[in-house]
């Protein structure tokens, strides 16, 4: 097992910047998730760590050793592909044994190791079957078996659950986390699914356009988004973003959104009057007849225990997660109240979060990219 250190990693494809000066550290034995929409550079970063792609600039250190230009076969990293890439001309046993054979391991030991991996993944009864007849979940387990059998320094996983249907995805998600807890293997996991990222990751790197927008624990990323992009990407529905124009002073615990004075966590910096964005999670929005911030109900979405109510305001659309039994009809005029200590503020010009009391203990408000 090993720590992975990525320094100023940069990758261009014929003028297109796929990854821009990314630096981060994947701690030994941790589960690191790279999350972002397609084309954000997460897979390219993963492939560079694995040695399937060479960076234009920057360094990759694996267990303290520079492997930036080392060939993939020499890095001792296992890779799980989205479509599993099980060799169709080999059966399950030979698929799992394939990495061991390249090491020139003795047959008896190969057999023991393959069977051990199969036992961990509970696929012992599949060992002598061809891979073509396997179900999605079993293919996934075989692919994992091929990865763990070698006991590599680190695992790279490129959307390994992307090809599975949603029910199976939940099951495999649990299995993956269980496997990691047991093996404690350094893992870098790429996905565009925030639920997967939240439930699997020790740390999440949220990426956009080749840049890491925020790097933090799932809790940090959700509660203290470092930028408008992260606020809008994480959460379902995502954070409400209301635009307004005001100035900020460290002493003043509120902002003026239109007619309404809204309480916020104490700002830690002073800003002159400018366009700002107020971010608040739907679960921190309440309807209150007396509130000065007014809106009109645009639609409701019933979810069983809760309902999502969409409200149009002069500052943008807002969604509120409310108790399911609350009666709300389309067209109702309502007032909005926010939980003041959970509000995020962003500079509309830069899209970056403004330091407030809420962010006091956050590590990653500063740009993750250097």
């Amino acid at each position: 097992m090993a720590e992975i250190r990525v320094e100023r990693l940069h990758k261009e494809f014929q003028g297109f910047v796929a990854v821009q000066n990314s630096s981060f550290v994947v701690e030994d034995r941790s589960f690191f998730v790279m999350l972002g929409p397609s084309g954000c550079g997460k897979t390219t970063t993963l492939r560079m760590i694995a040695g399937l792609e060479l960076p234009t600039d920057g360094r990759i250190l694996l267990d303290g050793k520079d492997v930036t230009f080392k060939r993939a076969s020499g890095r001792d990293i296992a890779f799980v592909f989205q479509l599993f890439a099980l060799y169709p001309h080999m059966n399950v046993r030979r698929n799992i044994a394939f990495p061991l054979v390249s090491m020139g391991m003795k047959r008896a030991e190969v057999k023991t190791r393959v069977e051990e991996a199969a036992r961990i993944l509970r696929i012992t009864d599949l060992l002598d079957r061809p891979v073509s007849g396997l179900s999605g979940g079993d293919r996934q387990r075989v692919a994992l078996g091929r990865a763990i059998v070698r006991r590599p320094m680190a695992f790279m996983m490129d959307e390994p659950l992307g090809a599975l249907d949603s029910e199976l995805r939940d099951v495999m998600c649990g299995e993956l986390r269980g496997l990691h807890d047991r093996l404690k293997a350094t893992t870098v996991y790429v996905t565009h699914d925030q639920t997967e990222a939240m439930s699997l990751g020790d740390k999440i790197a949220v990426m956009s356009h080749g840049v890491i927008e925020q790097l933090g624990t799932p809790r940090e990323v959700y509660d203290r988004p470092a930028s408008v992009f992260v606020a809008d990407f994480i959460g379902s529905p995502p954070m409400n973003l209301l635009t307004f124009n005001d100035s900020l002073e460290p002493g003043r615990g509120s902002v003026r959104v239109g007619q309404a004075e809204i309480g916020i966590p104490a700002p830690r910096e002073a800003l002159t009057k400018r366009d700002l964005i107020l971010g608040v999670r739907p679960e921190h929005v309440r309807l209150s007849d007396g509130a000065r911030l007014r809106g009109e109900v645009f639609g409701t979405e019933y979810l069983g225990t809760t309902q999502i109510v969409t409200i149009t305001t002069a500052h943008g659309m807002a969604k509120a997660r409310l108790a399911a039994n609350l009666k709300v009809s389309i067209g109702d005029a309502v007032g909005l109240e926010f939980r003041p200590d959970r509000i995020s503020l962003f500079d509309a010009g830069t899209g970056q979060a403004i330091r407030t009391a809420l962010y006091d203990h956050a590590q990653a408000v500063e740009h993750a990219h250097v």
Binding site: G51, R71, A72, S73, R75, A85, M103, R146, R150
Partner: protein, 317 residues
């Protein structure tokens, strides 16, 4: 082997349609195979039966054609033959019965060997080079790849015989005239363009992830190619090999022009099998029958792959 009924027929068709289809297929099969059957039959006819009119469907089979094909004979008077010691072998007897004396073996075995060496040699070489080139074009960013591929294809745009004279002069100068190696190189050059294009299609369809998986599993690029790509490209390689072999096996014009004796193959040889008083049709038919065999055997051996191959990987999972 038991026949397992397929769970789902390809199409729901009525028994009548299927019966009509069967009749059409059988008729077409007979129509196609008739000339070949006639050649096969002619090989076992006597010269008189071969040119009899109306054509004979029933006849007494004889090996005259094969004896004529494999030997050189001279016509002698009855008196001369009577003075000779009695024939030692069955084929001498067949010849003597027609007032012929065997003077020695003909060159057919040599021609046939040339066909095998040149045909299979160029097929193996073209398929080998084609596979490597196709893999390169498919997997690596080759500068000017599209132009190079077009250039490779363009070698087939002109009828090959249009360049026959320059090639003839070049071969004379290089000392490749009438050599097996010369013919192998020429057929390889013609076939390799076909091989590259066919195989590139096949290799393009093999997902890169397989090799990448092998690379991170500790294999070099070449090992990954050998252990992961090749086994999956076997269908395409077999189909390509058959196409290449059919071309080089049947090629007539270049061989006629570029060989005189040592490297002559069967196609230019067969038309010049001439017997007493004109074309010796049973001997020609015997040669043609033998000539067909290797290709038939090769195709049958690879037919499992060919069937999947000609659909160009469309049935891949």
């Amino acid at each position: 082997m038991s026949v397992v009924p397929s769970p789902r027929p390809f199409s729901e068709s009525s028994p009548l349609t299927r019966r009509i289809a069967a009749v059409v297929v059988v008729f077409y099969a007979v129509f196609t195979i008739l000339p070949l059957a006639w050649i096969g039959a002619t090989a076992f006819k006597s010269q008189a039966d071969a040119i009899a009119y109306p054509p004979k469907v029933f006849f007494t089979p004889t090996l005259e054609g094969f004896v004529d094909l494999f030997t050189v004979q001279t016509h002698q008077s009855r008196d001369f033959i009577a003075k000779l010691p009695p024939p030692q072998t069955w084929y001498e007897k067949i010849a003597r019965d027609r007032d012929m004396v065997i003077a020695g073996p003909s060159r057919v075995v040599e021609r046939f060997l040339n066909s095998l060496i040149i045909g299979f040699g160029s097929t193996i070489l073209a398929t080998f080079l084609g596979t490597l080139a196709a893999y390169g074009f498919s997997r690596f960013r080759v500068p000017l790849a599209d132009d190079l591929l077009f250039f490779i294809l363009s070698t087939r745009m002109m009828p090959p015989i249009a360049v026959a004279v320059p090639i003839y002069m070049m071969y004379r100068w290089l000392g490749l005239y009438d050599t097996r190696i010369g013919m192998i190189l020429l057929y390889t050059a013609v076939n390799v363009s076909l091989a590259v294009w066919l195989l590139k299609g096949f290799i393009d369809e093999i997902p890169r992830e397989y090799e990448e998986a092998a690379l991170v599993d500790g294999y070099t690029r070449l090992q990954a190619f050998r252990k992961v790509v090749l086994p999956q490209a076997v269908t395409g390689i077999a189909a390509t090999a058959i196409f290449c072999l059919i071309f080089s096996w049947n090629e007539y014009a270049f061989n006629l022009l570029l060989t005189s004796s040592d490297a002559q193959t069967m196609p230019p040889f067969i038309p010049f099998i001439i017997g007493e008083g004109g074309q010796n049709w049973p001997a020609v038919a015997a040669a043609t029958t033998l000539f067909l065999l290797p290709i038939v055997i090769f195709t049958i051996a690879l037919r499992k792959h060919l069937l999947r191959g000609i659909t160009f990987g469309a049935v891949r999972k």
